[in-house]
């Protein structure tokens, strides 16, 4: 049902919006081009913000600092009984979307998609979005440089999703 809805939603919008415009006697083509030009500007505007963030994150990852951070948190997750393979994924989820996707794929291959670890990794991957990426793109688009408490809220929500993923998986899948 839902998949059908997703499938029809986009074509519906792509025809429906111009149709409404035509009914309201608007120059739809001219308006479209005008708006699209704004898209180019916006993409260029985002670039420096996104680049700054992606470079810093990739340095952090490639240098081994990321593994060190994961190592630092291992005692905590061990105490809670969270599978060791999942912790780096949970951390990566906030930093890098492509990095997390690669990690999730690796866990599914190594541990099996239907194992507890595999199921937890799947839920984790699907239940939140990449906080650093979203912040860089959204704030970059309008030139916001001071994020105030946005990062705190984003990362705290990631932690909450991680813990609730674990608890939900415990309740549903280990038994």
């Amino acid at each position: 049902m839902l998949r059908q809805l997703s499938l029809f939603m986009v074509p519906l919008l792509l025809v429906g919006i111009p149709l409404y415009g035509v009914l309201k006697k608007q120059p739809v083509y001219e308006l479209f081009v005008e708006g699209a030009a704004e898209g180019v500007q916006m993409a260029l505007q985002i670039l420096p913000y996104l680049l700054a963030m992606l470079v810093a994150i990739s340095v952090f990852r490639a240098s081994g600092a990321f593994q060190a951070l994961a190592g630092l948190l291992t005692p905590l997750t061990d105490a809670l009984g969270i599978p060791a393979a999942v912790l780096p994924l949970a951390l990566m989820r906030s930093f890098s979307g492509s990095g997390a996707l690669a990690m999730a794929a690796d866990i599914l291959q190594q541990e099996g998609p239907d194992s507890f670890t595999g199921l937890l990794a799947s839920v984790l991957q699907g239940s939140t979005d990449t906080t650093f990426y979203i912040l860089a793109v959204y704030f970059g688009a309008v030139g916001i440089k001071k994020y105030r408490y946005a990062l705190t809220v984003g990362l705290a929500a990631d932690a909450a999703s991680f813990l609730s993923s674990f608890i939900i998986c415990l309740l549903l899948f280990s038994g």
């Binding site: 997703s6 415009g21 963030m53 992606l54 599914l108 991957q125 699907g126 793109v137 309008v142």
Partner: protein
Amino acid sequence: MLNWVWFGLLATGMFFAAAGGNMEQTTAAAFSAASDAVLLILEICGLLCLWMGMLRIAERSGLVDVLARLISPLARRLFPSVPPQHPAFSAIVMNIAANLLGLGNAATPFGLKAMEYLQTLNPQPDTASAPMITLLAMNTSCITLLPTMVISLRLSAGSAEPTAIIGATMLASSIGFVFALLLDRAIRRREQHRGR
């Protein structure tokens, strides 16, 4: 804060690179991330143009206002500082709807349009406003009804039940979403009391 986070990522990275002896690899990663950013922007750019064009039609024909009026009772609770029936609400709703349906590449343009509207209400253009942070809280912890990417990943890893995680993902994601909104609201209220 962001200055410190950004510098912290770079500095600890370089420290570990020096200590672990993989300086060369780390430098290479920095350069390739820079070109990756450009490729990523190119990819986003096409979709942004497409949806921004559609949104301009929706804006001028009045569709945006119709939608904003429809959902303003609900949205006003989440974004108390945005004037009722402001066009920002329609962009926000489209953004959330696209997220729910898993149309990630349409969600971003709608979200950016919403940011643009919110920026017109922002008294300090270089600083995030409260409604902007609420919108981001909703997006970073987005509710997913159908995690299509993960399902296909599980399928290719040979899962017997690739869709087994749908219910759990929905629930975990909703908890994160509600938590993000509550935390955002708590911080916003505290800052208001401090007179910001």
